[in-house]
Each structure stands twice: as C-alpha cells, then as structure tokens.
C-alpha cells in the first residue's frame, strides 16, 4: 500500500500562525484534508488547515546545524540589549 505521508499544519484561530500538528497517510489531498480534520481537529476552533506531502518538504540536517545557523548565534548587535541609551528615556 503506497500511501503518501502528508504533514499537517493547523491554524487555531484567525491571525495565528499555522502550527505543525503531525502527519496523516492518504491517497490524495482531499482525503488528506479530511483525515487531518478527523485526526487533528476534533476539538477547538480550528479555522484553517494545510496538508503538504512530506516529500515536498526540505529541511536542514542536524549535523549541519552549527555551520548553517551559527551566523545567527553570535551577533549581539542584532539584539536591543547591545545598545545603550540614556537612563530614564521613555519608549526604549
């Protein structure tokens, strides 16, 4: 049985980001949406749902984490705390 695995992303309320909920097996996107609703939306005010074939999702590899993300780890000047303003200034 060569069903496709679909990753499911659920939007809990208007304005919220879609969040990964898990996966479903389904033959096509319509059945994937129906299964995803039955499995991941039994409760709560789910307003929207995405299903994406797992084979269409590209990801980084754990082994590459240090080199791939490192540039973001050591730049303190990207954070507000790096900067000095006179004490008592409002709006900072």
């Amino acid at each position: 049985m060569s069903e496709i695995i679909w990753e499911v992303f659920v939007q809990a309320a208007g304005g919220e980001p879609h969040e990964h909920a898990g996966s479903v097996h389904a033959a096509d996107k319509e059945m994937a949406l129906q299964s995803a609703r039955d499995v991941y939306a039994r409760r709560g005010k789910i307003v929207n749902m995405w299903v994406v074939k797992a084979s269409d999702i590209s990801s980084t590899e754990p082994a590459d984490r240090p080199s791939f993300f490192e540039p973001g780890d050591d730049k303190a000047y990207r954070h507000p705390s790096f900067y000095a303003v006179p004490r008592g200034m409002k709006g900072f």
């Binding site: 049985m1 039955d38 039994r42 980084t60 590899e61 754990p62």
Partner: protein, 323 residues
Amino acid sequence: MSTNLSAPANTLKNSADEPALLAQFEARIAAGETIEPRDWMPEKYRKQLTRMMGQHAHSEIVGMLPEANWLTRAPSLRRKMSLLAKIQDEAGHGLYIYCGAETLGTSREQMYDELLSGKAKYSHIFNYPTLSWADIGCVGWFVDGAAIVNQTTLAKSSYGPYARAMVRICKEENFHKKQGFEICSILANGTAEQKAMIQDAVNRWWWPSLMMFGPSDTDSPNSGELLKWGIKRKSNDELRQRFINLTVPQADAIGVTLPDPDLKLDAESGNWQFGPINWDEFKAVISGDGPCNRERLTAKQTAHAAGAWVRDAALAYAQKHAQ
C-alpha cells in the same frame, strides 16, 4: 546540506565514530535535550522506541474494541455520544503515535502487519471483556486513569515525536477518565442492582489495571535502557504507586470497595500499601492466553481485510486523477 523530510535518516556511520557519537548522545540526554528524527541515535534507542511506540499505538487501536462493545447498548443518548467521542479519540491517539513511530524508520505497513500477525504486543488490559455497562465506567476510571499517569510522564520523553504526541493525548485524555468516573459514581449511588454491578466491575478491573504499569523494574528487562536514555522518566513501580494513591480516595468518595484487603495507608510516606499482584495472570494474558486475545486479533484482522477495497479504491482514484 538540505534534505527531504521523508528521506530515511542516514544511519550508516563509520563504526570508529560510535563511542564518540554515543557519548555525545548520552550527554544530550543528560542535558535534557530532545532527540529528533534525523539526529544520530544508538540503534538500540531506535529499536526500543520503535517497539514501545508501536505497542502504545496498537494499544490505543485495540482499546477501541472493548468499549465499542457497549456503544449500541449505552443507556442514554448522552452516554452514547460521549462513549463514541471517547472511542474516536482512541483512534486519533493511535494515529498520533503511529505517525511519531514511523519517523524512526519502520513503515506503517510493517508496524500494522506486526499487530495483525500477533507478533507485536499491545497493553494486556484490552484482552479483558467488558461484561456490563459498569465495565465501561471502570475502563474510563481505571484504565484511562492509569494511562494518564503513564502518559503525563512520557510527555517529557527524550524523543521529540513521542513527547509531542503525548502532550496532545494528555490534553484529550482527562475527559475519558471523568466520563468513566461519572458512570461509576452514578451507579454506585443508584439502585441495589446498580451498586452490585459497579462493585462487580471494580472487582474485575482493579488488579489488571495495576498490571498496566508493567512488572516491577527489577523484573522488567527493558526498563534500565528506557530510563537511562530518557525514553521513560519514571519507574513502573513509581507510576503504579502514584495511580493507587490517586485512586483510593476516589473509590472511597463514591463508596466502592477496591478488592484488596491489604490496602493500608502508610502515614509517613503518604503511600497506600497494597497486596501482591498476580504476575502469572499478567504473563498469561500478555502472551496470548487472556479471555479475549483471539477475539481482539480476529476483529482487527477482519476489519483490515474488509477495508481493503476502500484503500484500493482511494488509491486507484487518486492515481487516475493525479496531475
């Protein structure tokens, strides 16, 4: 550098790297880090998790059967709706865990085949029959109650997909226990016949429920590794004690007697001491000789065979309409 999410994890490594990788892995566990599907992991970790998650998922699915037994005979529409919702939840819970388990590299098909062939185990508790409506109450109160104790601690499992499935399940499980307890409490305060019915159910479900936590860890061959690697966080005995401590006052509150004359509160520790568990019964039931083992397996095999045309039709339709 980038990989496809559904590609199998590269588990082939130079064997000379193993000790260093293992040390790194165990340091991550010790630091409370979460292991994700594409992280390096010892083969034994992968195997233990696959076995444990598989058994857990199978248990949810098989667990639907003893409750479905009373669906058409629920005493009222309200009770029928809530039992149906509970059974639907169990299906969903099984699916959450199967989806988490297949990230470890074993296909759904293989896992499910192992259930249907009898090769894979599932929680022994579901090999007991639901003989009366009161049993449905006991299943919710004791069996789901025990599951909650177990699953709450598993929500901190070191393996990300398992922990996340547990978090999701825990949010939904509380209604199961309350639904069951409500049934028990109403029967326990009902007619003489109802009181007798609930007491009989309690007498039959109490000890098997305690066995759900598994043998004492000294007798449990897998416990050591599971605890060392954070797959489980608490010992079988600790969890069993927690469940008993929670449940004794609940039984007291509704006036049912737990069938253990040795139950005694140890004031110093706050723990309820309890009598000896019949582990021979557990061994028999888990290895195929319980009241309903054959019935459960046959039901799943029949359902799988009967549903084949639906799966085939869906696939044929999808292939016909594929862009």
